[in-house]
Symmetry: C2
């Protein structure tokens, strides 16, 4: 049944030879790489509004200047990453750039920041998308967590199937979103020209004005707004998917994307301010703006649904990025190796499962509220930006080439600006949740380190170097068979033991004295020629006395390897019947195999199953 | 760490020879066997009040007649069970009496009813106890579920430790309860004589009167009140713990207990009615009565806490009864055998765990509200009563002896009365929850039947009868070793395989073609003399192709037993490092061992562990 469900949801397995990269033209590449960046204006807008509305209309008047500052940052990042595209035509993610140019530790820090960002991108995008949906359909507002989890499930399954024709498919929501917003901004401008400007509803806002404008408030809002910049680096990571000439195409697309981002961000914020739009408690500011422009008509729903769609697609990009970067890090030996293995459908299934688990946890813990998640977000993003840009400066100093001074200066400007922003974000958001990330990053880096250490340590232990050839022969074996009574199952185990060794010892743990005589007689009859040891167990434990006996038995043997344990085991016909038998064989196996041993050795355990009918 | 916690909570293991029954004198035996019966007046009182208050003061006026009817039932049950004590001096629980006299199926039905009753007794007693506590300390009212679960945890741990000196310890809460209630009733009577009788606050009650007095209402309330009779049978189950002459002592204690029960039930209900006491929403009627008599003074708190204490002790009796009866049923082969095994501290730990899980589930599902649980309760109790009494009638007809006609008549009266009550309870409470139990009992009986069937079926399969002596020798073995690469771990497995068989085949599942040549060269160098099979796996699955190969390999062998599988396995130094290795060996073991096989056979699997340092 599980098999059928799996087949239906995930599809047939795909052979390895189908693994190939599809190259995309510029239009589809923009759709594939920009959703994260474009969609982030949805929550950035919301954050700027929420950050300023507490200071009333005077606060809200600051939204344009703040958007201006973010625009300047966007310009600098676009220039900087255009250079990364040039320098790393096969794709230059922060992890690659930082570890190649700055060394192991900065690389690992960038890797930790990146992985955390992917998780947060997915969680924030999903919850912001659900907020857009629930603004249009207020009945859904109390079920935001559930709706977000359903979408997460759909995204997970889609990614486990593998997105073969992703480029074309993703174009629809991305261009719908861009189109819908451009139309809305256009209509908004016409409306502003025809009707004249509105003004903030002072009475409504005044009642909300609980704080005065302070430097902290401005920096805090700026930090929140910086989440608009998340995803800007995606194109430089994905240069490899462009049709040649990759570098030129990627840079062109980068510029177009930045222009669209800037236009949407400025346009929506300017219109919000011109019309003096404010939002209800259970509505996003973008929904309120759209309502102001279109009323609750079909275009309003088109904008809302296209916002949801692009945010879902943005969440989806994490499901490509996270497993990809994990696999890269795992190949370098800093994460568990399973993350490098391709699943049934040629996707890194383990990475997808890990991401889904983390995102679901965040959605549940933070109650499906993107506003609560945002303070965790920008720290990792700007840390990765800073490390990547610093890495680029070192890159130009190493590689040199024409105009390298200028190039290093541009990336240097990027590094300094993002570093300053990082400090502002970390300081102003520290108590809101940035501290979680500042604790988490070192923990993740430490985990990378321990994983690497483990893989380094086991290599020489497993190496055949130094092993004499031919390898020393295995010494004659001693075998121990624990028996709880004489029946076909135990008899089969004893016979197998005899077939592999001439030194077989049966062990009987005496739980109930009254049964011992009967057992002895049975044993005598069927296996009398074998050595039998009876161990009384006054505390009715089987495991303890058996392990004790095995240790004493091994000590007798001196240098020889530990005695082989042959375990008779029943296998009932159906699963529930396992509950009707003591799972002693299973417990013994666990205890014996995981018992600490000296390097290399370890007790060999043989399972002799006896299948029951019915 | 787990070991230390276990040690600290549960204590040192006790040797089997310490298992002995402590005999109790009559005073302590009453304390040990009566808490369930005595404490049930707490919730029965509450149920009668809640059943009648909906019909206003006219309804409440019916509480004494209803209590009278319950008193008559109590008298009949006392007479009937006195006879059970006489007939079964070693303890005659419903399961024993019904299965000995009526046969297998009635016995199993009684067993199912009994087990369900034990669970409900614990759940109802705990929640009623918490209600008494929360009536005295209203701040606890919203946390009734949590408080009940904490008490459940304490009871569980106490019982896992084993209650050695239970008789003496339990005397304190039981006699405090009896003493406190007798004093309260005495003071109440004096107060009534001095101050005159009160009257129901008509205005207050009238507003609650939402129903008129109907036959259904009366029967419904009677059914709820019948929960007062739960636990009456406990003394007849426990005749064995009395000091000799057991039968006489047990009958004396039975009469005393019934007299005390009757006195407390009548006394409290009569006073409630005389004073016209009504209860708040978040208070029990007994708490309201106590407040009426004592005010919120120290005696009030003494009564409340002694109510809590005896209810906790009553819940505790389930923790002795349930594991005991389970073990009895398991000995007869109708429940999993593990329930018969004594734990570290000479208690049936598995039974205790099962009970705790069921009780916790009930408390959580029913929101810690004893009133919601009550409708489930009486059906099982009266079913067990009826079966037990009917069994006694058959017993007397079988055994005869002096006055057997009279004895059969008394038990017959008991059987008829309890059967009629059963029908009334089942019908009037059907929709409130009794249907759950009426569904559950046949399901539990079916489970007993399937368990028994399984144990019956496997006996001949395991029996050595018909096996020729000496048993046929094991044929020469063929061995298969799956290898993922050449290293010390796989080399050790191959060497072991060679030491037990001359026909060893190594199998390599090819996941990545580019690595095959390197592997072949390594294998050639270290184990070139062994047969090597390379299986391409285009879908990157290891398990599928391996199982496929093994089946084909076995078919070649014809009649010989399936090839032995020797699995190399790494064992990392610490638990978290398991996450850093594919758990392939473990998956293969599971798949191979649990694969359906013909009876008896089954593939032998050998684990060759290789322990890693660090």
């Amino acid at each position: 049944m599980f098999h059928h469900l799996h087949h239906w949801l995930i599809g047939n397995p795909l052979p390895t030879k189908m693994l190939h990269g599809e190259r995309l033209d510029r239009v589809r590449a923009l759709a594939a790489l920009s959703p994260d960046a474009l969609s982030s204006i949805a929550y950035a807008n919301q954050e700027i509004y929420l950050g300023l509305v507490v200071a009333g209309s005077a606060g809200l008047a600051l939204s344009l200047p703040i958007a201006g500052a973010i625009g300047v940052l966007l310009l600098i990042l676009t220039l900087s990453y255009s250079q990364t595209i040039q320098a790393y035509p096969r794709g230059g993610g922060s992890y690659t750039v930082a570890s190649e140019n700055l060394g192991k530790w900065p690389g690992l820090i960038a890797a930790a920041a990146l992985l955390i960002d992917y998780v947060l991108t997915a969680a924030v995008s999903l919850t912001a998308g659900v907020a857009a949906l629930a603004s249009a359909f207020p009945d859904l507002w109390p079920y935001r967590v559930e709706v977000a989890l359903v979408l997460l499930f759909v995204i997970t399954v889609t990614n486990l199937r593998g997105l073969r024709e992703a480029g074309t498919l993703i174009s629809i929501p991305v261009y719908s979103f861009v189109g819908a917003y451009l139309v809305m901004i256009g209509v908004g401008i016409i409306k502003a020209l025809v009707d004249g400007l509105g003004s903030v509803d002072e009475a409504n806002i005044a009642s909300h004005a609980t704080e005065s404008i302070t430097l902290f408030l401005v920096l805090h809002t700026f930090s929140s707004g910086c989440t608009a910049l998340t995803g800007v680096e995606a194109i430089s990571n994905g240069v490899g998917i462009f049709k040649p000439p990759e570098t030129r195409h990627a840079r062109q697309v980068m510029v177009v994307m930045a222009a669209v981002m800037g236009l949407l961000l400025f346009g929506t914020i300017a219109l919000t301010q011109f019309f003096g739009v404010t939002a209800h408690e259970n509505e996003t500011i973008l929904s309120a703006l759209t309502r102001e422009i279109f009323g609750r008509t079909v275009p309003y729903y088109v904008v809302s649904l296209s916002t949801l769609a692009i945010l879902v697609v943005a969440a989806n990009t994490s499901f490509v990025g996270f497993p990809g970067v994990s696999s890269l890090i795992a190949q370098d030996g800093y994460m568990p190796r399973q993350l490098t293995s391709l699943g049934d459908r040629l996707v890194f299934s383990n990475g997808i499962f890990s991401l889904t688990a983390c995102v679901a946890a965040l959605i549940i813990i933070f109650g499906g509220d993107s506003h609560a998640l945002i303070p965790l977000f920008a720290v990792g993003v700007f840390l990765a930006f800073t490390l990547s840009q610093t890495g680029m400066v070192v890159h130009w100093m190493r590689v040199r080439g024409p105009h390298w001074h200028l190039k290093a200066a541009i990336n240097g400007l990027g590094a300094i600006t993002t570093a300053v922003t990082l400090v502002v974000v970390a300081a102003s958001k520290f108590l809101d949740g940035a501290w979680i990330i500042m604790l988490l990053i070192p923990m993740v880096v430490y985990f990378f380190h321990k994983v690497h250490e483990h893989y380094q340590e086991i290599r020489p232990q497993l190496s055949l170097e130094g092993v004499p050839y031919p390898p020393p022969p295995v010494l004659p074996l001693r075998v121990v068979v624990p028996v709880s009574g004489m029946h076909r199952g135990t008899l089969r185990a004893i016979q197998f033991a005899q077939s592999i060794s001439s030194e077989v010892t049966a062990v009987y743990i005496e739980l109930d004295e009254t049964r011992t005589e009967k057992f002895k007689a049975d044993f005598e009859k069927w296996s009398g020629h074998i050595n039998l040891v009876i161990i009384p167990s006054p505390y009715r434990s089987i495991l303890g006395p058996l392990l004790h006996f095995l240790e004493a038995f091994d000590r007798e043997q001196g240098d020889r390897q530990p005695a082989v344990l042959v375990l008779p085991e029943f296998i009932p016909g159906s699963w529930w019947q396992h509950l009707l038998h003591n799972q002693t064989a299973w417990l013994i196996k666990l205890a014996v195999i995981y018992q600490r041993r000296r390097h290399g050795g370890g007790r060999i355990v043989v399972d002799v199953p006896f299948h029951l009918r019915g």
